[in-house]
């Protein structure tokens, strides 16, 4: 009996893990092809163009880089085109510490703010998931609600709150926490406040969805087996919310590394993140090749966490099956 069951399970495994396309009809293959074509047209091709620009030289023409591929010149033209490509821009990135500092600063800001988001987001998500079921939808709505207005307007609102005679300083002075207004705007603190505020839902929502799905019988089972509530959190709740933590952390960390608007509007000259450097190269210096190289290196930096995230999502999907 039991052995038969075992085999059933194994057969099911084999089916889901084994042959991805074998035995599918032509129609099914065409349908699978559609998203690949979409990705090729709108992601892969633009990406390759950026790669190509990053290997080109800056010129004062329109477009502002050379060489351009001239199809009329034929094979010889193509060879000349390839010969003109160089890694020069990447050498510039490596040589000038400005870029390295901007990358490191971006990673640092992303790491610190993601940690703060996790510390604030986990209890929030936990609280919502443990709230009475009829309140949960309303609480989730409260987290999402700010998204219904423009992101830019919300960041400008923070300028208003953080400025010298802004709301925050008025409250601080009124409560006698300090006898004179403090400087908030154009500091790292302002950048962290802005980032944590803006990315909060991206941390809370995946955590909430993991915590909310958790079978409450597991907590009862832990208690039943002699585990006090605080310990149950460490040995059951936290390990089981790992998928939510990974999703939340990466969903915040990845875009924060490339964040441009928040450090630009709230930060000062000390907080130069890679997004700002990129913007300056593209729009102020009109140096498309260097800007493209900056973008490619940024992408390479983020590939590792993105792959981790994808891997995690895949495992979740398989578990849910």
């Amino acid at each position: 009996m039991t052995l038969a069951n075992r085999d059933d399970v194994d057969v099911m495994r084999g089916e889901t893990a084994g042959r991805p396309l074998a035995g599918r009809s032509l129609g099914a293959r065409v349908i699978v092809l559609v998203p690949y074509l979409w990705l090729a047209a709108f992601f892969l091709v633009p990406f390759l163009i950026v790669v190509k620009i990053s290997l080109s030289q800056i010129t004062m023409t329109q477009p502002p880089y050379a060489p351009l591929f001239d199809a009329a010149a034929g094979w010889e033209g193509f060879k000349a085109f390839l010969a003109a490509l160089s890694l020069n821009n990447y050498e510039i990135l490596a040589a000038d510490t400005l870029y390295l500092e901007a990358y490191l600063k971006s990673l640092e800001v992303a790491a610190i703010s993601t940690a703060m988001l996790l510390v604030l987001g986990y209890p929030t998500a936990y609280g919502i998931a443990r709230a009475p079921r009829r309140l949960q939808a309303a609480l989730v709505m409260l987290v999402i609600l700010p998204f219904w207005t423009s992101f830019l307007i919300r960041v400008y609102a923070w300028i208003n709150i953080l400025q010298h005679d802004g709301l925050l300083n008025q409250v601080i002075v009124a409560l006698h926490l300090a006898d004179h207004p403090l400087t908030w705007l154009s500091t790292d603190t302002a950048v962290f406040i802005g980032i944590v505020y803006s990315y909060f839902p991206f941390m809370v929502l995946p955590l909430y969805s993991t915590l909310e799905r958790m079978d409450t019988a597991l907590f009862e089972a832990a208690a039943d087996l002699g585990c006090p509530p605080w310990k149950t959190f460490w040995v059951v709740t936290l390990p089981l919310s790992r998928p939510g933590i990974v999703a939340g952390v990466l969903l915040c960390f990845i875009p924060i590394v490339g964040e441009f608007v928040i450090p630009d509007l709230l930060g000062g000259s000390s907080t130069v993140m890679i997004g700002q450097t990129l913007w300056t190269e593209f729009f102020a210096n009109r140096d498309w090749p260097t800007a493209s190289a900056v973008a490619i290196v940024l992408l390479a930096l983020l590939v590792v966490p993105i792959v981790i995230y994808q891997h995690q999502q895949l495992r979740e999907l398989e578990r849910g099956r």
Binding site: M1, T2, D8, D215, A223, D224, G226, V236, L240
Partner: protein, 388 residues
């Protein structure tokens, strides 16, 4: 209708049940529910319920969903607090003792295995909480896995196991700490019928081997009858009847219990004349039944006579020796179940009775067919007289 509805508990368990009881008289119950009530808001789940469970019993709480049986189990585990009344374990009031300090363990209906831990670590979970030394834990876990025959699966995660295997991990985990009482919440609800029956017998063997007190909650009367040596039938948060399976089946104290356990024909009537040994009851449709009441009946009182289908005899010819109860009717439907056949007989009085006849031979000389006139007879001590 299932053939097993007619499963008659072996007399062995009946006698062991009653000897237990006499020996138990002087014994202090292991678990005592004393006038326990539990209300959710205004909704009562358990009402002033009093029940004693003794050391070594395999005790079943049986009832339809919503009767409060699971609540009672959760009250003992400590997941719920009684609104009124006390629960004693080993004479100690459990009072506000939180679940993690109660010496009882529960096997959950969903099994509630920790998905992030291997089979081995699931079973070890409770022992680790006790602070048992590592070597002792390893030994105990190996012992438990051998007990449920899962040695080969120690390193697997729950999602790599079949339903039956998960059930056995849950069982091993709940037994690991040697609980004073093992609580089983519908432990076999997720198993298919064949596996369920095998598991029931394994559970009985296990209980006999360990001597641990088992308290099982189930809505499946066959399961309760099979595994338990005492059953409490519950209805709307109260106990309708407590007793060994044979007593519940053969001497139900109410129409509710008679109807809930097994198949039964219930005939409403009035008492015509009565002594303690014999009562003549006239049914509403005019037939007369001779019964052995076993209780004092007042002439004229409304009573119900319960008749188990397997205790009726049906014959194509009038019985040679006139039995105490004899009726004539026409066969309406026949349900062939293999081991037995169920006949629905419409009596001349208009009532429809079910009669179950064991198919003891492969080919009956002359089978009874639909539409045939038949004689229905039964002994007067086959009747159960109910006053409520």
């Amino acid at each position: 209708m299932e053939a097993s509805n007619y499963f008659i508990p072996p007399t062995a368990s009946a006698s062991s049940g009653s000897t237990h009881r006499s020996a138990r008289a002087a014994q202090v119950p292991l678990v005592q529910f004393q006038a326990v009530s539990k209300r959710y808001g205004q909704l009562p789940a358990v009402e002033a319920l009093t029940l004693d469970i003794y050391q070594g019993e395999f005790f079943a709480l049986l009832g339809p969903s919503g009767c409060g049986k699971t609540t009672l189990l959760r009250l003992l585990a400590g997941f719920e607090r009684p609104t009124a009344g006390r629960i004693l374990l080993d004479r100690q009031d459990l009072g506000d003792t939180p679940p993690h300090r109660r010496p009882v363990n529960m096997m959950f209906q969903s099994y509630a295995l920790f998905p992030h831990l291997t089979v081995e670590r699931n079973v070890a979970f409770g022992l680790k909480q006790e602070g048992m030394p590592k070597n002792d834990i390893a030994r105990r876990v190996a012992e438990l896995l051998a007990l449920v025959r899962l040695e080969r699966y120690a390193g697997r995660k729950p999602d790599q196991l079949s339903g039956g295997e998960r059930q056995r991990v849950a069982l091993a985990r709940s037994l690991a700490k040697r609980p004073r009482v093992l609580l089983l919440d519908e432990p076999m609800a997720a198993l298919d019928k064949k596996l369920r029956q095998d598991t029931q017998f394994e559970l009985m063997e296990l209980q006999a081997k360990l001597g641990t007190t088992f308290l099982i909650v189930t809505h499946d009367q066959d399961e309760a009858m099979t595994v338990a040596n005492r059953i409490a039938v519950m209805e709307h948060g109260r106990i309708a009847q407590v007793g060994p399976p044979v007593e519940i089946y053969e001497r139900p104290n109410s129409r509710y219990v008679a109807d809930f356990i097994g198949e039964v024909n219930i005939i409403e009537g009035r008492v015509v004349s009565t002594t303690l040994e014999r009562a003549l009851i006239v049914s509403d449709s005019g037939g007369h039944l001779t019964t052995t009441p076993g209780v004092n009946l007042a002439p004229g009182a409304v009573t119900w006579v319960a008749l188990r289908p397997e205790k009726l005899r049906i014959t194509a010819d009038p019985p040679r020796q006139a039995p105490e109860n004899l009726f004539v009717g026409t066969v309406g439907e026949i349900g062939y179940l293999g081991n037995m056949s169920v006949y629905k007989v419409r009596l001349d009085s208009g009532q429809v009775w079910k009669a179950a006849v064991a198919n003891t031979t492969r080919h009956a000389d002359r089978p009874i067919v639909i539409g045939e006139r038949v004689w229905v007879s039964f002994d007067c001590d086959a009747t159960i007289v109910l006053t409520r």
